[in-house]
């Protein structure tokens, strides 16, 4: 008999990686220029964790995937239009800043508080997923703080593989130094997992999935509570784009032998 899991995926929006970003000084600290206008995507590593969660839920009938997001409501609604057709999930959202300049402790407290409020949550069957770090703050600290607040002591970071074993235990591969994996086993739920890329491709859009998801997404967006994030933990002295612009020397219409020789000299130099 398979176990039905409660899989909570923590993930929010980040600016589309193709956009050029420019920092500005906002009223409460640094922000991105035209932040509300920038096209957004689901944070890439959180996105991978959502696809892994959906795949696990498929393998374990009765399991439920909940996507938990903090972000400006209007932006979250736009994001849901993009991802709702990917995999089945229910949305729980908090209205607040998705800025990378927020302190992860504040964000973790808000997320953990929202998890604790999910009705009928069985913590013994809880798998909390998210990205190993966000593409905005990139601190890799939020998932562990959620674990602490929820009292979960088994945490894995930069995971590419989670396998369920016959005895109900898990086998996990975590990225470690030098392109290697640490292999660990854990007796079972509850666990917190910060995913890296995983092994699954992005699922194709499925309009039926999208329609089913939208039944819970819209009410969730409407009743989203303020996340109550404070912005005073970090004192920013400056936020700047890297200034260095290189003078690129273009070498073209040059014989291959000459190019190769120049490259080898440079490598050995």
């Amino acid at each position: 008999m398979t176990t039905a899991y409660n899989i909570i995926v923590c993930g929010s929006l980040v600016p589309d990686p193709l956009q050029t970003l420019e920092p500005i000084q906002g009223p409460t600290g640094p922000a991105l220029k035209n932040e509300m206008m920038l096209p957004s995507v689901l944070d890439p590593w959180a996105g991978h964790s959502l696809f892994e969660a959906a795949n696990l839920a498929k393998q374990h009938p009765g399991s439920k995937v909940t996507l938990l997001s903090i972000g400006p409501k209007a932006k979250l609604q736009q994001l849901m239009m993009i991802i709702a057709q990917k995999v089945p999930f229910e949305l729980v959202c908090l209205d607040g800043s998705a800025s990378g300049f927020m302190d992860s402790r504040e964000v973790a407290a808000a997320l953990a508080g929202a998890i604790e409020k999910i009705p009928g949550l069985d913590k013994t069957k809880l798998l909390v997923f998210g990205g190993c770090s966000s593409a905005s703050r990139d601190s890799g600290t939020t998932m562990q703080m959620i674990a602490e607040q929820l009292g979960i002591t088994d945490v894995f970071l930069a995971v590419d593989e989670l396998k369920f074993q016959a005895d109900g235990s898990f086998r996990l591969l975590e990225r470690v130094e030098g392109g290697q994996y640490q292999v660990s086993t854990c007796t079972g739920a509850p666990v917190v997992i910060g995913w890296a890329t995983g092994n699954l491709p992005e699922p194709p859009n499925n309009p039926q999935v999208g329609m089913a998801n939208m039944r819970t997404i819209m009410p969730s967006l409407q009743k989203a509570q303020p996340a109550g994030l404070k912005t005073d933990a970090i004192k920013f002295a400056s936020v700047q784009l890297p200034g260095q612009q290189r003078q690129t020397r273009i070498v073209k219409d040059t014989p291959i032998d000459e190019i190769a020789k120049e490259i080898v000299t440079w490598i050995k130099g």
Binding site: P44, R105, D138, Q144, R175, Q182, Q245, T254, I256
Partner: protein, 344 residues
């Protein structure tokens, strides 16, 4: 006056990893920059004496250690407990630790238990009017912030390659044991091993002098209208072997496997650099067949000397970001480069 704790764990040989020695240098700089501060060493491992002896002459006031079989393996539950215990025992106001995979996992939890703040991926420190400021990147290496925090304790995890490793003579350190009890509930996770590619297949080499970045162009149709994935792989692997290089890849190239396109078998998502990959530090980088701009450029943010080979002279990936752009067929160039490298 700050109470600084340099926090580190031992490696599989019972020594401190290189990144820990680099971080010790950072801790010493902070001690020097903040007059009247003290430095305590906190070590975690199965046996920490050898590691403490390794840095005995660094100028520490005291050495604390959490040791025992439970602390030999990298495991969140025990690592977080050990780090929090050392933070408490030292009374530290600033905790400096290396951003190893083991500590990157555990330190945020320790910060929570210590009611501390934490900053990770720290890539620089400076002092302004006697205040410690750190530098770290936001939005995946696309903008750099200089910041400080008032709240204490403050945990600072330093990235590898930022500071030179501490070098000093070994000695004999007196390590004060900090006792940490581990409950059965905290042993639910067991590290069973490391999955490492064989030496020949090892393509990620953090210590390499040069990073070869391979882009999706390697698996596209070439001038003869055919895909030459096997030939591409041979050129890449030969170069890695001959130049003792590390291999990075664009996202589009590693994604091709899951999208059913031609793949290079030597590549995995672990090789991916850029917005959703790693940002390795190497003195030199050679990019081949890469296209694209923002997401890609962050992949070689920390590469000092950069050269690129591709067929588009106006490629945004190279213009203004590489020192030299060779507009040429990478297959032909790399074949010749390998031939010259093989000759010595």
């Amino acid at each position: 006056m700050e109470k600084i704790l340099f926090l580190a764990h031992t490696d599989s040989n019972g020594q401190l990893p290189k990144v820990a020695l680099e971080t010790l240098n950072a801790a010493l700089q902070i001690k020097q920059g903040l007059a009247g501060s003290t430095l305590t060493i906190g070590l975690v491992g199965e046996n920490v004496q050898a590691a403490a002896d390794q840095i005995a002459s660094c100028g520490m006031e005291k050495a604390l250690g959490v040791s025992g079989a439970d602390f030999g393996m990298s495991r969140y539950a025990t690592d977080v407990k050990a780090a929090a215990a050392l933070g408490t025992a030292s009374g530290a106001t600033i905790i400096i630790a290396p951003a190893t995979s083991r500590f990157s996992r555990a330190l945020p939890g320790a910060a929570f238990r210590l009611k501390a703040t934490i900053d990770t991926h720290v890539s620089g420190i400076q002092f302004t009017e006697g205040v410690l400021q750190i530098q770290r990147w936001y939005y995946r290496q696309r903008m750099m912030a200089t910041l400080t925090r008032v709240a204490r304790p403050w945990i600072i995890a330093i990235d590898s390659g930022v500071f030179p490793p501490w070098q000093g003579t070994k000695g004999s350190a007196k390590v004060e044991a900090v006792s940490v009890a581990v409950a059965d509930q905290e042993k639910r996770t067991k590290m069973t091993g490391i999955e490492a590619p064989s030496a020949d297949a090892q393509t990620i080499r953090p210590e390499a002098q040069i990073l070869l970045v391979a882009g999706a162009g390697w698996t596209k149709k070439q001038t003869d209208g055919q895909i030459h994935a096997k030939e591409a792989e041979k050129h890449i692997l030969d170069f890695l072997k001959l130049a003792k290089a590390s291999l990075g890849s664009s996202k589009s190239l590693v994604d091709q496997g899951s999208e059913g396109e031609a793949v290079l078998t030597c590549m995995s998502h672990l090789n991916q650099v850029g917005q959703t990959g790693s940002t390795p530090r190497h003195p030199k980088g050679l990019s081949t067949c890469c296209h694209g701009e923002e997401p890609h450029v962050v992949g070689w943010r920390f590469i000092n000397e950069r050269r690129a080979i591709n067929t588009d002279a106006s490629c945004g990936w190279a213009q203004g970001k590489a020192d030299v752009l060779y507009v040429a067929d990478a297959f032909a160039v790399m074949s010749k480069v390998n031939e010259l490298l093989a000759k010595g």
